[in-house]
Amino acid sequence: MLQPVELKDFFITFFASGIIIVSGALYALFYAFYHLKKIAVLNYLAYVSYFVLFISVLIITQTMHLDKIWTIVVIAMLVGYFLAPRGIWHLCVATHKEKGYEQK
């Protein structure tokens, strides 16, 4: 059902887990700033952040033995953290366009 982390992998597991969430937020941050300011390097940084997230997810996949049914967690995280910020951005833009926006 589940195979616990080995002692030697404790530190890397905690570290990579923390990095996943932090780089997820950085990705969201750069993504949003890029679309606001249109500075190309921000877009690049967004994808670098996501890449860091991707690698970190792979690391915990190894150390936490996320195989078999646990693959769902890996996929859900990779997809969820990638799509959610984009979705929110589109919603912000869509609501902005609508009439009555400046109603306060």
């Binding site: 589940l2 969430i21 997820g24 996320l66 967690v73 929110i88 609501t95 306060k104």
Partner: protein
Amino acid sequence: MTINQFNTQNLNVGQKLAIKYFSVAVVLFAAQILFGLIAGLQYLQPDLFYGVLDFNVNRTVHINAMIIWMLYGFIGASYWLLEDETGISIVGIKWGHFSFWLLTVAVIIVVLVYLFIQWGPGTDATIWFINEGREYIEAPRLADIGIVICMLIFFYNVAATVSKGKVTGITGVLTLDLVALAGLYLAGMFYTTNISLDQFWWWWVIHLWVEATWEVLVGCIMAWGLITTLGASRKIVTTWLYIEVALMFGAGILGLGHHYFWIGTPEYWFTVGGLFSALEPIPLVAMVVHAVYDSGKHGFKSNNHPAMAWLIAHAFGNFFGAGVWGFMHTLPQINLYTHGTQWTASHGHLAFFGAYATIIIAMFYFAVQKWRGGVTIRGDLVDSGWKWKWSLALLNIGVMGMTIALLISGYEQSQIERAIGGSTWLGYFQAQIHPWFVEGLVWRQIMGYITALGFILLVWDLLTIGKKEPLELESKVA
């Protein structure tokens, strides 16, 4: 209207009630810190107050005071924004005042019972009068019933006002959220002799409060705060609120499973709890996009800098405390080792402080501002605002410091006690005397004093800020 002085004529009917709730909240916050410090000292000096004020009592007061002061803060915040949002005076406000006094008397009695009557055998009677025995919500059943009555009155005030006045996205979400919040409390009130069953329902209150209903409640406060202080568009903010509710509930409800790993519940909870709680930080991450969008479109202009600063602290605190610290120990493959160690306490401190204490402190600052007639409070106050800046810094450094110290102790426990010692008694004691553990707890105490210092400054500041400030010309004073 009186400027610069605390005068309730500056407030609307709901806000007058709100400041009562806020005042008691500050007192209970003080109690939380005091008893936290005593409990922390007892880790270092186990015989301190032994038999007079035992650790279990101090711990109980510490965390129950926290839950109650935060509930007071939330109730106060709801009364505070209700009239602005609905455009009408609160329906049945007399009952609101009555329930404030009822609740406060109940709280005083419960605290006295915690302090003085916590020994002897547990019987049916003690469940009713002494202690119900569920961490965080230990109030005896009689007090529970009083709490439920007060919540019903509060809910009646909110629901009746909202249905009679203007229904906005914020008040709509708030009303529905309060139904869930109050309903969940009932899950922690009945008695069963089966410890697995007991824990199963108890987590409904604790987890579904802090990771679903409370998050949505502070989402409402944040939405209101963004609209009133930054002039953010109501449309964007409310749309965001709906999405946040969907994401929070979507991941948070079944994320409950991360508490069902080791209490005797079926094995499928491993995967369910792991999967959904791994997704719980998503709304916290996505919130970043929304913040960038709003600040980009409107800029950060505010006439209440301390409140703004605390709202920003809330965004970061929620992200790190709940998101990062939560995710680091949420998969069962690692939670096996961290479960119930100081790791948990590390996360608990940062999450509760970062997500909830911060935003209620922001509300306190909104409240004193209007209470003094709508003065401007910025970074360039007459005294340069050193009190609010220092208290902001000390409180955040203090709690962050405690969090890191506890993390080190917990990390050591997960290795020595769990992984190497195999969760045996021997492993437990070996971990308890290891230098990393002991020094971690010393540092927790030092950082606790810094937190306490920050709190004292905070209270001083709340009582004095805006006393000498001019009214800003364009700021609207209602």
